[in-house]
């Protein structure tokens, strides 16, 4: 490998999202004719780094060179001109258009603005033949909407191949594929490698990385911590590199909750969930671990009745009908949702209304509100949670992320919930506010509330939880308790779970 002039070289890449540093000085260097893995725990910035190269994320600062010459990549179009193509798990297909039209989308053959169906098909044919073994009986003129998710993912890959990239980014592009389909994609990747293409491979499946990649760059908290040659390391060493020599996170050593079972979930199925069952005690903090997007948010939404689902849930032994958030709230369930701006707060409305909206009916008489009571209730929350506000009449949009999140907590605390569901409650929150939110969560548990928390940071689960349920593909696959909860165990559990069952749970007819 010619280390002096890599095909891709990213250095000193910085990207902030609000108060969160997604990338802080990450580097990456890969040559033509190699498959280069990009690895890291949840929130380490591996996807963001790929997107910087693909032009879909604008870095705050970056030093990018392709084939030795410095470049600026301001848009996906600019990236395409430089020969960079990217495939993500989220598809960019137009469902109503045919397979061949999707493949040539953006580079349609034709004359003076008129499209030629025949030329489009001819252009798409070689790609379809190449992916044929995996695509099964897909026809070029079939609308993409009729394809299985796996087949659609393959079309997406085909679309990138058609652009004949010098650099191909595959970001979790195999996640929805069946094992046989993955092998076809791997064959294609190996051919590309022979042709001198540089493939950047982002996957959460460690076995795929081990099988396909030549080298790998490992990221942690937005920084590159190692670059390794895959043949020389063991999977265990890779996990250790991903987690790092972390100083053991200070765990608040409290007695494990011995209260009665408060929340019982049986056979809960729905969007992104299959047959989830677990119990949680009063005063217990239960974490939802695993790789991101394995059904953690969906589980919380389902428990709150926000999405359609089947199964049975009971609180303190009494069954809860999960028909709507309203009925869940009436049974003492609360949700701090993942997206503060659109789900947690009403940004344009005053802080007072945001704090009182979920509980005002309790204080109202015949539908009429008493201004003094409402003000007293919201002032109590502002004091208890030490929310820094200018005035209760100011809109929530005037608050910082941490204080806005405290308002969401306050809204539910006024309802005195028995079960509180937290979906990544400290996302985009600065360190100071984070520890105050931890204090609020511990206070809730001490008062007997059952806390179920999903987090994009493993460290957060280690800090807070009595127990972590590790999720994979919509189900709970493992459980880690008490002092066994460490970052290393969490990463290991998350990565290892997929190996044995790979492909089986997403089985679909590929032939």
């Amino acid at each position: 490998m010619n280390e002096s002039s890599p095909l891709v070289r990213l250095r000193d890449v910085h990207k902030r999202y609000g108060g969160v540093r997604a990338l802080q000085g990450a580097t990456l260097s890969a040559v033509g004719g190699e498959v280069h893995g990009l690895l890291g725990p949840n929130g380490s910035g591996k996807s963001t780094l790929g997107k910087v190269l693909a032009g879909s994320v604008r870095p705050d600062r970056a030093d990018i060179a392709i084939a030795g010459s410095a470049v600026q990549i301001g848009s996906p179009r600019a990236a395409a001109k430089l020969g960079v193509s990217a495939v993500y798990q989220q598809l960019s297909l137009v469902e109503e258009l045919s397979v061949s039209h999707n493949l040539v989308l953006g580079q349609e053959p034709g004359r003076v603005g008129f499209l030629s169906d025949r030329a489009a098909k001819a252009k798409a044919r070689p790609i379809l033949e190449r992916l044929g073994p995996a695509l099964g009986d897909v026809q070029a003129d079939q609308p993409v909407r009729d394809l299985t998710p796996g087949q659609q993912q393959l079309v997406e890959i085909g679309k990138a191949l058609l652009r004949e990239p010098r650099i191909l980014i595959l970001d979790e592009a195999t996640a929805s594929l069946h094992r046989d389909q993955v092998q076809v994609v791997f064959d294609v990747v190996r051919e590309l490698k022979e042709d001198g293409v540089c493939v950047l491979f982002v996957s959460h499946r460690l076995d795929e990385i081990m099988e396909l990649c030549d080298r790998a760059t490992i990221l942690r908290s937005g920084e590159t911590v190692a670059e390794t040659v895959i043949d020389t390391v063991s999977p265990e060493e890779i996990v250790r590199l991903m987690v790092g020599d972390v100083q053991t996170v200070e765990r608040e050593q409290e007695e494990p909750a011995e209260g009665p079972v408060r929340l019982a979930v049986r056979e809960l199925s729905g969007k992104g969930l299959s047959d989830v069952a677990f119990e949680a005690r009063a005063g217990e903090i239960v974490g939802l671990g695993g790789l991101q997007g394995q059904g953690q948010s969906e589980l919380l939404s389902a428990l709150f009745g926000a999405t359609a689902n089947s199964g049975s849930v009971s609180v303190d032994g009494r069954p809860v009908r999960l028909a709507s958030p309203r009925s869940a709230a009436a049974r003492g369930i609360a949700l701090v949702p993942g997206d503060r701006g659109s789900q947690g707060t009403l940004p344009a409305r005053p802080i007072l209304e945001n704090l009182t909206v979920a509980s005002m009916r309790k204080r109202a008489s015949f539908g009429f509100l008493r201004a003094a009571r409402e003000r007293a209730a919201s002032q109590r929350m502002v004091d208890e949670l030490s929310i820094k506000v200018g005035g209760l009449a100011e809109p929530v949009s005037s608050l910082s992320g941490g204080n806005a999140q405290k308002v969401v907590f306050g809204k539910w605390l006024l309802n005195e919930p028995d079960v509180i569901l937290l979906d990544d409650p400290t996302k985009g929150v600065d360190i100071g506010a984070k520890s105050e939110i931890y204090r609020i969560i511990r206070g809730l548990a001490r008062a007997g509330t059952t806390v179920i928390i999903n987090s994009s940071e493993d460290r957060e689960l280690v800090t807070l939880c009595d127990r972590v349920l590790v999720m994979f593909e919509g189900d709970i696959r493992a459980e880690i308790r008490g002092s066994e909860i460490t970052e290393e165990r969490l990463v290991q559990a998350a990565l290892r779970i997929g190996e044995g069952t790979h492909g089986e749970t997403t089985a679909e007819s590929a032939t």
Partner: protein, 318 residues
Amino acid sequence: MNNLRRVVRDPLVIAALIAIALVVAGGIVSPGFASPDQIVNMLRVASFLGLIAIGQTLVVLSGGEGIDLSVGTVATLGAILASRTMAGDNAMLIPGVLLALVVAAAIGVTNGLGIVFLKIPPFVMTLGMLGVVSGLILVVTGGVADGRAAPALVHLVNGRLFFGIPGILIVWAALAVLVTLLLRRTTFGRQLYATGAGREAARLSGVPVNRVLITTYTLSSVFAALGGIAMVGYSQQVFLNLANDLTLPSIAAVIIGGTLVAGGVGGYLGSAIGAIVLTVLTSLLTTLSMPEWARIVVQGAVLIALLAVYGRQRRLRS
């Protein structure tokens, strides 16, 4: 200083200043325009639009591109049903008004159900309803409008009840206070603002979003019918297109009043001032004997100019 600047930039204050400026300008151009009599008369005419704009305000506040294009025809239908029932007889006044309000409520519930459960965009749903109601009017009247307002209704609108103030203005003022209380001091009001400011966040806070929306569209039709009934008290005779032309002004009044088009922010007081601005503007242009087309152009231009001014201060976020 800062406070003063904030007050001057408040849409409500801007709209009120415009209304006063228009009256003063009218008084200069044509003596008698700003006379107490003339002002009372303009307010009387403004009240019909003002009543219809109550419902429109609630609908725009409810967000989700909330708009009710059926208010004009619903007002006309309400006026026709009420005046045919009363047929110039005081004894039938109450039954006539009740019939009109009940039918209007049924229309509003239908709008709400279509928007909530069939997920039809409000623009399309209420546009369709406009057509349906126009047809209903033809069925009910057979193409001939022959209702007459009860004398008591005429007296309420055209007479001067207290110290020279027409009763309809007192009704309007009372309803303005009630609606403002509804918005600010009841759970329904808070839920309406929440629904408009962020539908998903409202739903996840336990707000019965569907119920709020259906109630809102129902209230919109009911207030529209009320406006139509007031109008027939003014004209005494009913016409087949009595209030049809008030739909767009009712939306304009809400916007002039500073209610956020995206929903969730605003109130009725502004819409009431907006209704007055539009009415005074129309009579000023009439006094200047501007041709019809020029009046329409000026009204449209004023609306766009005001929106541009408001839009500068706060982004029309959705």
